[in-house]
């Protein structure tokens, strides 16, 4: 098995090193890093804006570029949270806790240096894990029938909606809403082509445009919330140069074990469908505080409090590609979007992906290595430029982003109808945000909806309408058992103590 992996990896490097693919991978990490640094723009908007532009490209460079945006944004987000105390992306919320105190002590550069080291180590480990595990998981998943896939998706959706931030009940509601939105349009699965929830609009026959939904929810809704409501940014500490990044021997010694522990926690979290990097970084921070001999230093600028969550985030981001690619079950909304991109390019994620599209699978893995090294090269000598970008004020950022959203959505299908759809989802998304609904699980449901229905229908047809098939088939029963266990755990946690052991003083934005 491992020999095939090595052969595959060599093949992958051949693909990823082709000049055209190398270029797109570079553009991906560059744009990702840039968007990650800019306060107030999320990775979901970045991918959604660029997604329509990949429609005309070959699938391989398109996927390499989109993946590059994801992990590139993780690097950029760390800069923003350490130097400005702004968690631009949820996974970095805990990094602020010790990152910003370090910055105030004049050690912001060191914190960034340690972050880059932790990131490279964590990502490297996550990639290795993917190389070793993905083929095995795919081989097991190969024997799954429609019933198993249905219950596995159910588990993924349930985990995604209850383990994320916010109320679990509301997460479930958002997932169901997403599943319903995914059904809009002609019913192709049943073969009847029956139009559902189209309200007579022909433009909705092909379903709701993925990019319109995601840019409405994560772009326009976010602008409606943040306009005239962003805290003044403190850029007093952003004067960082390359030589400031080098940590001292003592710092390295302090950070080494936390990086290792964080990496392991991140890679474990990534194996559970539905637990993305955000949870991984929280768990890593909490664990580090627990094992520390001097827990009182945390929150005052402990380098361990930066090293562990950052390593954990990066190993989890890479590890999250395992369930996404080999099972077709994304770990969070960002992965769901990547899944959507694969589907748009005519590639069905799942156990057959590795065999049927070795170019994409192994090319992607090889490009992770290349992309992560590019990011280090981009971040270390050019740190001064990234830091300058922190100064772009929100009042210039959001009107510009609004235009990119409009044109991006238009380019997806060359129709202005979708721009209107985006606006509607923006307003709906803002109302949902006000009512404290977290829209991310909606995207998960939207993308999995049609496949869930298709597999559910096929499983029942094969079992001649006997709903007991989901319990009688052993693997399917295990997944259902996991669902029940997950729900039971939620009840237990809810009545025992408050959710997520939020470390004191997390910037309120991060947990909202």
């Amino acid at each position: 098995m491992l020999e095939t992996s090595v052969a595959g990896l060599i093949h992958g490097f051949g693909i990823a090193l082709m000049p055209q693919n190398l270029l797109w991978c570079f553009i991906g990490v560059l744009v990702g890093n840039m968007i990650g640094v800019l306060p107030g723009l999320g990775v979901l908007s970045a991918v959604s804006i660029l997604l329509p532009l990949t429609f005309g490209m070959d699938p391989v460079p398109a996927v390499l570029m989109i993946a590059g945006i994801f992990y590139g944004a993780q690097y950029g987000g760390a800069i923003c949270s350490i130097l400005l105390n702004l968690p631009c992306h949820p996974p970095h919320a805990v990094t602020c806790l010790d990152g910003f105190p370090l910055t105030k002590q004049g050690k912001g550069g060191v914190a960034l240096g340690i972050t880059i080291m932790g990131a490279l180590f964590g990502a490297g480990f996550g990639i290795m894990q993917m190389i070793v595990l993905a083929p095995y998981i795919a081989r097991i998943a190969y024997s799954f029938g429609a019933a198993e896939i249905t219950t596995l998706m159910l588990f993924g959706l349930l985990a995604g909606s209850t383990l994320a931030k916010g109320s679990p009940l509301k997460g479930v509601a958002m997932t169901i809403l997403g599943l319903l939105l995914g059904l809009v349009g002609q019913d192709i699965n049943s073969g009847s082509g029956f139009p559902r929830f189209t309200f007579g609009l022909l433009d909705l026959d092909d379903g709701i445009e993925l990019v319109a939904l995601s840019l409405g929810l994560f772009g326009i809704a976010e602008f409606l919330r943040s306009v005239n409501n962003t805290p003044a940014v403190n850029t007093a500490y952003t004067n960082i140069r390359m030589r400031d990044l080098r940590p001292s021997k003592a710092d390295m010694k302090l950070a080494a074990m936390p990086i290792l522990r964080g990496t392991l926690i991140g890679s474990l979290c990534s194996l559970v469908p539905g637990t993305g990097p955000t949870i991984a970084s929280f768990v890593a921070y909490a664990a580090e505080k627990k094992v520390s001999k001097t827990p009182e230093r945390f929150g005052q600028g402990a380098i361990e409090g930066v090293a562990a969550p950052e390593a954990s985030t990066h190993s989890s981001v890479q590890g999250d590609f395992i369930p996404t690619m080999s099972l077709g079950i994304p770990g969070d909304a960002a992965m769901a979007l990547l899944l959507g991109a694969l589907i748009i390019h005519g590639i069905t994620p799942g156990p057959k992906l590795i065999v049927e599209h070795p170019d994409i699978f192994w090319g992607l893995i090889a490009s992770f290595w290349i992309g992560n090294i590019m990011l280090v090269v981009l971040n270390v000598p050019l740190i001064g430029i990234w830091v300058k970008m922190l100064m772009v004020p929100y009042r210039f950022l959001f009107p510009s982003a609004l235009f990119f959203i409009c044109i991006g959505v238009f380019a997806a299908k060359n129709t202005l109808f979708d721009v209107g759809t985006t606006l509607v989802f923006g307003v709906v998304g803002y109302v949902l945000l006000l009512l404290r609904f977290e829209p991310a699980p909606m995207l998960l449901g939207f993308i999995l909806g049609p496949r869930l229905e298709d597999n559910f229908r096929r499983a029942l047809t094969l079992a001649h309408g006997d709903i007991g098939t989901f319990v009688e088939r052993p693997i399917s029963a295990v997944f259902l058992g996991l669902c029940v266990a997950l729900l039971a755990m939620q009840f237990w946690v809810r009545f025992k103590k408050p959710r997520l052991p939020a470390p004191d003083g997390v910037p309120s934005q991060a947990l909202e």
Partner: protein
């Protein structure tokens, strides 16, 4: 500013309404049997589930400051963002990419109280130049620079 008590009553009610609405619409579609599911079956189940979850949300609504929400009414900000998108749609259709881009960015920028007319116009001009260069020349988006679609 508007202060709303018992936020989750509204949250739950919204989900109940959406779920029930979806279920009612889906019940008019062919439902089929379990062996041969029709187009309405799955959405009907989902609609009912959503309504049930909505009831649970309302039933477990926290009271007091935990369950309240403050709505910051900002008609200028909201109006300009929504107006910017509408301007983009209308002007792309009837006037072309250049006026659409300028209007979209200009109107949206005016939504921020810290932006002056001049700053908004400068920003809009800058984005129009970059936007048309990238999208019209580079990526050949199907909207003419000037003129109707």
């Amino acid at each position: 500013m508007k202060f709303v008590q018992r936020r989750d009553y509204y949250a739950g009610a919204l989900m109940v309404l959406t779920g029930a609405g979806a279920a009612v619409i889906a019940s008019r579609y062919p439902l089929g049997t379990l062996t041969k599911m029709g187009s309405g079956f799955f959405p009907l189940v989902l609609g009912i589930l959503l309504a049930v979850v909505g009831i649970l949300i309302a039933a477990t609504a926290p009271s007091g400051p935990d369950g309240a929400v403050t709505i910051r009414t900002d008609w200028r900000g909201w109006g300009c963002i929504i107006g910017g998108v509408i301007a983009f749609i209308v002007l792309s259709k009837y006037a072309g990419l250049v006026p659409a881009t300028f209007a979209c960015v200009f109107i949206a920028a005016l939504g921020d109280r810290d932006n002056s007319w001049k700053e908004a116009a400068l920003l809009a001009a800058g984005i129009t130049i970059v936007g048309t260069a990238v999208f019209a020349y580079g990526l050949r988006v199907q909207i003419p620079m000037f003129g109707s679609l």
